[in-house]
Symmetry: C2
Subunit: 408 residues, 2 copies
């Protein structure tokens, strides 16, 4: 059984944290100077671990094992949120590196093929999971061409700025891999609340999005009587509140929904709004539950339109993601490895957040492992996990990787 | 009985419309080049009518009669909304000018004292009714100092740009006036809907404003379970919808309320909002009704806070206006004049919109007269009234002014 080096693992994680550090947080958005510095440092660590390491034309870092496949691809992403925590993505990247080293140091596993990877732009500076989509052949060129970040910087400019303009893209060699393993902090409270140490992900939840556009009649807020109004904001408040009241009847126990974007125009207190927009996003691991929630939203839209005030139209938002099921065999290996190192302290669970594995599972089997997040905090400088949980998770992943490869 | 000159009235209105014209609309915001051009043209028309005309340091245009007081002050405002109609304010200004001319041409009224006025910035580029507030001594210097328009231009810069930096302000000579008369388009549908020609304003409705600030916990929209959320937007939608459901029970038949400003932060579809703001504005002619509506809002805030999600705090918004009652004697004179020229076609009514008379009534008696707005449209390029209604309104105002002065 391969044995990871806890001090080496933690030292590498802390070094990666120092690149783009701001206080206890990390600011390393995709293709930024800090992101590229981190990828060049990681490339050196991959090389030192015996991998042939390459940064491709979108910034993906791939370290190829000298051993023949079929093997495993293991990693996550080293780009961060605009104001991110130190473990989101970074944990899974350093785990991949450490699993490569641990297997190479054990005579019983040193012949096994493990490639390590750090995907680019999981965090959606330009487009969520841009790097893994590109690697998997799931990023249409026409979509990529129009991409800009929130400051208006074009993806092509950022790639040129990062020195990657003439660098080719890598594409998946499908026959090389049994599958992809990704470890991640949970980003939620369940493991900690339930006293568990390892989550074995069953499904990455699906996500549906709907944009509601309300059309009313802009008017003077003093002289326009209530009965003559078509107030776009009134219709928005009614629909949003009704969704919050009615969704629990269709939702599953882990369903979530959010209406985090609402715009009322022109936005003046003394003008009856003529226009408004509301964006609804809802997630669940089951397509049937998502369908049921969608049906509720459709019914409520019809009810608002029947009331005769402002009208509302619904259209799907840009991102729609089907639930992604993790490979059952990989789940068994991960659960068995967890049981060996932390008996009775692992649990099967869905992932409420999206991950690169949700993309990569379109081209090969995937497995995911979670470790506890302190307080469930994520996408925040305060994001953290306990050192012993970090070490345990990596040991479980190394063990599972070895057992998957040895069973193949 | 003085007789107005319909052609002269309409010609002056059309000339004023041409200054800052954009299509059928007018763009003449306070202290803009077009606004100052209009005021200089009006100054010439005042002078031609025998008035001693002055533009003061904030842009108010006052034309003083050579006759001794006490007399009447008559006018409105010649600044417009950013994209305004041709009659809002302009109608009342040209009415004031025409009443001066008509009384001066009639041997029986030529001794009477009528001053004409065009107030500055009724439409709130910097501060609503800035000019009439300044004239009446109701504009605190410390408030005026900080004023900027929505593009960030300081009031002082705009005054300097208009060439008024070293021009003194005018202040009301209280003993000179019996009171102030203002005519205006209705900006609502009541006169047209009811087949009436003249509205005699009883009260300018009061306005209360409340800003609600919602404080929740910003979080990941995928991994934060519903029961653990403190979603600021959810609380906003609930309170706004409850206000729309409960206000009709406390409101009067002409009460209006609007929640035209709503902001959800950070405003991303995949982030549980941690902050939100909602602004409620409500109007009625009765302080008792306004108090009852306020009590409903207070109760609903307490209910949202009792639900244990995001919390909400309420504070009064910047502008709070008490109902302004028009002088009963002036109302009688206006109604009697209307009855002479349009028997059975005038009606007493509140004003749902605010006007300079709502400021000036703080220092002297005021009266207001409305003429019908086609389709009730206002604050829009399409704002219009029929020529015969325009002519009739001015004749009624001239007659009422003469009878007020003759009765004094």
């Amino acid at each position: 059984m391969p044995k990871i080096d806890a001090q080496r693992l933690l030292a590498d994680l802390r070094h990666l944290r120092s690149i783009g550090a701001q206080g206890i947080g990390v600011v390393r958005p995709a293709l930024s100077a800090a992101d590229m510095e981190a990828r060049r440092w990681l490339r050196g660590r991959y090389q030192a671990a015996g991998l042939a390491a390459t940064i491709d034309g979108v910034g993906n870092l791939l370290g190829r094992s000298p051993n023949p496949g079929p093997g495993l691809l293991i990693g996550s992403h080293s780009d961060t949120q605009p104001t991110g925590g130190w473990l989101d993505g970074a944990l899974g990247v350093i785990y991949g590196l450490e699993v490569v080293r641990a297997l190479a140091e054990d005579p019983e596993t040193q012949h096994l093929c493990v490639d390590a990877v750090s995907w680019q732009d999981e965090e959606s500076r330009f487009f969520g999971c841009l790097g893994s989509r590109s690697f998997c052949g799931l990023m249409p060129a026409e979509v990529e061409e129009g991409l800009r970040d929130k400051d208006g910087v074009a993806l092509g400019e950022a790639i040129a700025e990062a020195g990657l303009r003439d660098t080719p893209r890598l594409s998946v060699e499908r026959e090389r891999y049994l599958g992809f393993l990704e470890a991640h902090i949970e980003q939620g409270p369940h493991l900690e609340d339930d006293g568990q140490k390892i989550g074995v992900v069953s499904t990455i939840v699906g996500l549906r999005g709907t944009v509601f556009t309300f059309t009313g009649q802009q008017n003077h807020a003093g002289t326009t009587m209530m009965e003559g109004r078509k107030d776009a904001a009134t219709a928005l408040y009614a629909l949003a509140h009704a969704i919050n009241q009615e969704f629990p009847k269709a939702a599953g126990p882990r369903s979530v929904w959010t209406m985090g974007r609402a715009v009322v125009a022109p936005g003046a207190p003394s003008i009856v709004p003529g226009h408004a927009e509301l964006e609804l996003q809802f997630r669940d691991a089951s397509d049937e539950v998502l369908d049921a929630m969608q049906a509720v939203a459709d019914r409520l839209v019809a009810e608002v339109n029947a009331q005769g005030g402002a009208s509302v139209e619904a259209r799907p938002s840009r991102v729609q993601i089907a639930p992604a099921h993790m490979d059952p065999g990989f789940q068994e290996h991960l659960a068995a490895a967890a049981e060996r190192h932390a008996p009775g302290q692992s649990v099967a669970m869905p992932s409420g957040a999206f991950h690169d594995a949700g993309i990569v599972c379109g081209v090969m089997p995937c497995g995911m492992l979670f470790i506890p997040s302190i307080g469930g905090i994520s996408h925040d400088f305060a994001e953290d996990s306990h050192d012993d949980d970090i070490v345990l998770g990596c040991q479980v992943l190394a063990d599972a990787a070895a057992s998957i490869l040895q069973a193949a």
